[in-house]
């Protein structure tokens, strides 16, 4: 059933893309309406702040609009727009390269052994114990501890639900590299969140 639904959506999407390419703006707007929330969340997750996330959102859809005639439809429109948005987000981070926040050196993280230090279980339902804004800050701080390539792999695989192969395509990585990054990203995020959520912590 889910597969049938996916197939219908894909066919529907390709009709919208065709109409948009033919100059039907309403069709393009429908594509924007479908994915704007996801692309904003992608921007928030990768860049870590609202201003940059808004820039990523605008730039990604403006570029998609401009380059739509070049979109050859060998992937889904969604994968295409995600790829544009990921590039925009990583470019934003590169511009901040000299600032304290971001290390772009993924290979460093890739070779580093993940050390698990927090073994305690968490207090139940942390999402119910914090206000939404507070929880967003906690999650964002943990994501910021990852280098950009790792947080992007985590976001695409675990939040957006892209397959390992799709993630590899978007990131120009091998399937093995995607799996290795995902493993490290998950454990590192868990480690960071454990500092806040573990049983016996004060917050």
């Amino acid at each position: 059933m889910a597969e049938l639904h996916q197939a219908t959506l894909a066919r529907d999407e390709s009709l919208l893309v065709n109409d948009a390419k033919a100059g039907n703006y309403a069709a393009f707007e429908e594509l924007v309406n479908r994915y704007e929330k996801k692309i904003y969340r992608l921007g928030m997750n990768i860049t870590g702040n609202r201003e940059d996330a808004e820039d990523v959102l605008q730039e990604a859809f403006l570029k998609a609009f401009e380059h739509l005639p070049d979109f050859r439809e060998d992937s889904r429109f969604y994968t295409w727009i995600v790829r544009i948005a990921v590039n925009e987000a990583l470019m934003k981070l590169r511009k901040r390269r000299t600032s304290r926040e971001v290390s772009m050196d993924d290979t460093d993280d890739e070779n580093r052994e993940v050390v698990v230090r927090e073994f305690a279980d968490w207090k139940p339902n942390p999402e119910q114990q914090y206000a939404r804004g507070e929880l967003e800050t906690i999650l964002q701080n943990a994501v910021n501890s990852l280098s950009p390539g790792f947080r992007t792999v985590f976001y695409l695989r675990d939040v957006e639900g892209l397959s390992t192969e799709e993630t590899a395509e978007v990131m120009d990585l091998s399937v093995g590299a995607v799996k290795a990054r995902l493993f490290r990203a998950r454990l590192k995020l868990r480690e960071e969140l454990s500092k806040v959520f573990k049983r016996g912590s004060n917050s």
Binding site: E36, V116, P126, R132, D158, V159, L187, L193
Partner: protein, 84 residues
């Protein structure tokens, strides 16, 4: 299976990508090792927290500015077409 090995397999186990024999060995380890079980549980919870669709919601004003920017782009494209 020792804890180091178990840690390495937890991620693929969460994706359901372990082969049957390895999966059984890991599951056995998780039933008696509290540390690894906590790591498994909290890694799963980590993913769930980030998947919460209510987080990082698109604010209305950001959405309006996006659609305005797109319409401006459309108009500038149209006027260029007319000039041609």
């Amino acid at each position: 299976m020792n804890c180091n090995k178990a840690m390495k397999e937890i991620s693929e186990y969460l994706d359901g990508e372990l082969d049957k024999a390895l999966q059984l060995t890991l599951e056995t380890h998780l039933t008696y090792c509290n540390h690894c079980h906590a790591v498994y549980n909290t890694t799963k919870k980590t993913i769930e927290l980030y998947c919460d669709g209510k987080l990082f919601a698109l604010p209305d004003d950001v959405r309006s500015r996006l659609h305005e920017a797109l319409r401006r782009k459309l108009q500038s494209c149209c006027s260029e077409e007319t000039k041609k």
